[in-house]
């Protein structure tokens, strides 16, 4: 078989890319991952209100069976997710995963900061996390749902 010239090869590559939908739809406005309407508000509202709810459980010393799961879930998910949501990523799975990673990182840094500042109390640590999470959640509510062009999916492996 005769070798393809470089031009032929690039043409074939382009065709293959289009066939595989590897070309990012940069020029098409896409949904921000939010449904629009009042239903959109439930997640930022949940992120905002879960903080005070968890703090109430801790401050009023609710039994550990009642507060352990909410506290762990809050620390592991909410602070990072609240910030990541501001980036308006279209892929919810990625948003959640990066949000969890960021939450755990924020938790580590806040806890360690309290040690270095000689200001250790678990309630203070949790309050700091609630403050860190509430700010972006409020901003999220203020900004509201909007179409977003910034994070369009490139299409690779999206068929699943």
């Amino acid at each position: 078989m005769a070798e393809l010239s470089i031009g032929d090869e690039e043409r074939r590559e382009s065709i293959e890319r289009i066939r595989l939908r590897l070309v990012p739809p940069n020029d098409q406005p896409t949904a921000s991952g939010n449904d629009g309407g009042w239903l959109w508000y439930w997640l930022p509202l949940l992120l905002l209100l879960s903080g005070p709810a968890v703090l109430v459980l801790v401050v009023f010393d609710a039994p550990s069976w009642a507060r352990a799961v909410p506290v762990f879930a809050y620390i592991a998910v909410v602070p990072g997710l609240a910030w990541i949501r501001l980036l308006r990523l279209t892929d919810r799975v990625t948003e959640l995963l990066v949000g969890i990673g960021l939450s755990l990182a924020i938790g580590v840094l806040v806890a360690q900061l309290m040690i270095y500042l000689n200001a250790w109390t678990s309630t203070l640590g949790l309050s700091m996390l609630v403050a860190i999470a509430s700010l972006p959640a409020l901003a999220d509510l203020y900004l509201g749902p909007r179409p977003d062009r910034s994070t369009a999916r490139s299409g690779s492996g999206d068929a699943s």
Binding site: E9, V98, M114, A152
Partner: protein
């Protein structure tokens, strides 16, 4: 006219329609069914049947059948339709349920079988977190891990806020939680680099049993593996060069090459035509990397924020583990070196963060351990010896486990290498994945990490090796023989699962924590005066899970303690505030299985102690004994 005829025509029946209807019913039912069978089988397992080969000696056949059924269902779901996407009846949530059931049965097996959380080092980490929770301080002079206290501080804050006395209730299920998180991240990483719908699912399915190393227990490294995957996910998803960037670079390089050599590359290469054709059977074709996946498009602001996220996660990693930040730094540097990360200055930023933390916040550790940190840099031979030679010891069962681990590691690396080659042959090579699979091997030149460096290399390369290994079965979709690929995937999964049970739980005879041992330790803490020394024959004792600063411990590290009567006596007399000798079954099993001590070694020392007349037995229950020294006659 034509269209109306088309509308009236009955839809053509495809050969895979009927199996799909069957799958649509059977697939959702499989995970709960398998989970019930598996949990019943595990709950019915007697932990006392655990012998030299660990949990495998005790597991019932029903569990193996359940795992085989789950694997068959998963593979059938993934390969059920020849279309580019998965079959219409196969919803992602059903595949997620399969994966969750797989993780619960494999990584939660010990939690179902054993009455107490396994692995003594995890108990020690509970003690570290407990100290921070009580005092708000660290103890870097007591243990090096306190110089990287991020994980312990987080746990201390979370457990106290949750109203728990300590973190012990979290131990048993931590591996399951971590692995669910790892699986989701590996799926997303694979989706960012794979061009078909099946590779991410299969990569996760291979990753779960291949992750036998056991770094997912309640530990800083377990958490830091999440950080590692998050940083690399961000870079792979958003910061790869696009095809346009790569084509532009190729084009400029070609112009430079042709200008330098004076002839078009294509013409020169054609002179080697016959040789190239012969070599072509195994060679990698031109353009093997040209169909790499595209990065996600994002605005500059979003990209800047994502880099901020990566830096923050890296900082948390730097503050909570010694090795993982180095692994992240090496991997990111490798991505930049092969031009698969567009933020060329990122390694410098990461290095500055790492250097800053180590220079200022770990002084208490490195001031006395500089040789430990830097002594093995570049000492490849010594590192290999510490990683393989010095760890190959113990009884026959332990040696078999070590061999299975070595075969499994080499097997995964081989599958990854072959998969990479096949993907490149199919022009679906991905340089970023190959670089990330290979980058952790550079850690060999850094340090031996207490002889564990091979385990860590394996762990850090595993997500990418799993993606590449899938390339062996599916270099691109559609594959030529889907039935063969499905069969190989099934057999490979079963092999990995079987090997996992040996490699992961093969040391369960001494890695499980015995109730009798814990009972003795509890008695000790309840009755010993603060400041006393606790002496044991080996470090395999579930102590130091609380009040770590109030007592002294011999041995302190992960090794053997005094193992003769005079040595024990000397260790106990060294502390004028009193000492207690603790003998437990877990110590004897550890000595025999891990260190290759002769059978009956512990019982003979116990006999010597009983007959020496120098020790007074003050506690004996369920295999645990506690002695104090008798006072010499002249001192009464």
């Amino acid at each position: 006219m034509t269209s109306s005829v088309r509308l009236r025509r009955a839809p053509q029946r495809r050969p895979w329609d009927r199996p799909q209807a069957l799958l649509a019913v059977a697939l959702p039912a499989t995970p709960p069914l398998v989970l019930v069978i598996g949990i019943i089988a595990l709950r019915g397992t007697n932990a006392d049947d655990i012998r030299s080969l660990g949990l495998v000696d005790a597991l019932p056949t029903q569990l193996y059948i359940a795992l085989a059924l789950l694997t068959a269902a998963f593979v059938a779901a993934v390969f059920s339709a020849p279309t580019a996407s998965l079959a219409p009846g196969v919803r992602p949530v059903v595949l997620v349920a399969h994966i969750a059931a797989f993780i619960v049965l494999l990584h939660g097996a010990a939690a179902f079988v054993e009455p107490l959380p396994r692995f003594v080092p995890a108990w020690l980490h509970v003690g570290f977190a407990d100290y921070i929770a009580r005092t708000g301080h660290t103890l870097p002079e007591l243990d090096a891990r306190f110089s990287w206290p991020g994980f312990f501080a987080l746990v201390a804050m979370a457990t106290r806020a949750a109203g728990l006395r300590d973190a012990l209730p979290l131990l048993a299920w931590t591996p399951v939680v971590f692995n669910l998180l790892y699986a989701a991240l590996v799926y997303r990483v694979a989706r960012a680099v794979a061009g078909d719908a099946r590779t991410p699912w299969l990569a996760v399915w291979f990753f779960i049993p291949a992750n036998w190393v056991g770094q997912d227990y309640f530990s800083p490294q377990g958490l830091n593996y999440v950080f590692y995957l998050v940083v690399l996910l961000v870079l792979l998803a958003w910061f790869r060069p696009s095809s346009i960037d790569r084509a532009r670079r190729r084009s400029s390089r070609r112009v430079r090459t042709e200008a330098a050599r004076g002839a078009p590359a294509r013409l020169r290469r054609s002179t080697f035509g016959p040789a190239r054709r012969a070599f072509g059977l195994v060679s990698i074709p031109r353009g093997a990397l040209r169909l790499e996946a595209e990065p996600l498009a994002a605005s500059r602001t979003t990209l800047a924020c994502l880099i901020g996220v990566a830096l923050l996660v890296f900082t948390a990693s730097t503050a909570s583990h010694q090795l993982t930040p180095t692994a992240i730094l090496v991997s990111v540097t490798m991505l930049v070196a092969v031009r698969r990360c567009s933020v060329r200055t990122l390694p410098v930023l990461l290095f500055v963060i790492l250097l800053g933390y180590v220079s200022y916040l770990t002084v208490a550790y490195w001031a006395g351990h500089l040789h430990d940190m830097l002594g093995s840099v570049g000492q490849l031979g010594r590192t290999v010896n510490a990683g393989i030679g010095e760890r190959t010891r113990g009884d026959r069962g332990h040696l078999i486990v070590l061999q299975v681990r070595q075969v499994l590691a080499v097997g995964i690396w081989t599958l990854g290498g072959l998969g990479a080659w096949r993907r490149m042959r199919a022009r679906r090579g991905d340089l970023a994945v190959m670089a990330l699979a290979g980058a952790p091997f550079l850690l060999l030149f850094a340090q031996s990490y207490g002889g564990e460096v091979f385990l860590r290399i394996y762990t850090f390369s595993l997500p990418f090796m799993a993606v590449l290994a899938v390339g062996l079965l599916i270099p691109k979709w559609p594959v030529r023989r889907p039935l063969l690929a499905a069969g190989v995937a099934f057999v490979l999964s079963l092999g990995l699962t079987g090997a996992f049970l040996v490699a992961r739980y093969g040391n369960e005879s001494f890695e499980r924590v015995l109730p009798g041992d814990v009972e003795a330790v509890d008695w000790l803490y309840a009755n010993a005066e603060p400041g006393a020394t606790f002496v044991a024959l080996t470090s395999n004792v579930p102590w130091r899970a609380r009040d770590i600063e109030q007592y002294r411990y011999t041995p302190l590290g992960e090794d053997l303690g005094p193992d003769s009567v005079p040595a024990i006596e000397e260790a106990m007399r060294a502390n004028p505030r009193g000492a207690y000798l603790l003998l437990t079954t877990g110590q004897y099993v550890w000595g025999e299985s891990f260190y290759g001590k002769p059978p009956g070694w512990g019982a003979s020392i116990e006999h010597e102690i009983d007959t020496s007349g120098h020790f007074l037995l003050i506690y004996a229950r369920h295999g645990g004994k506690i002695y104090i020294l008798r006072q010499p006659r002249g001192e009464r």
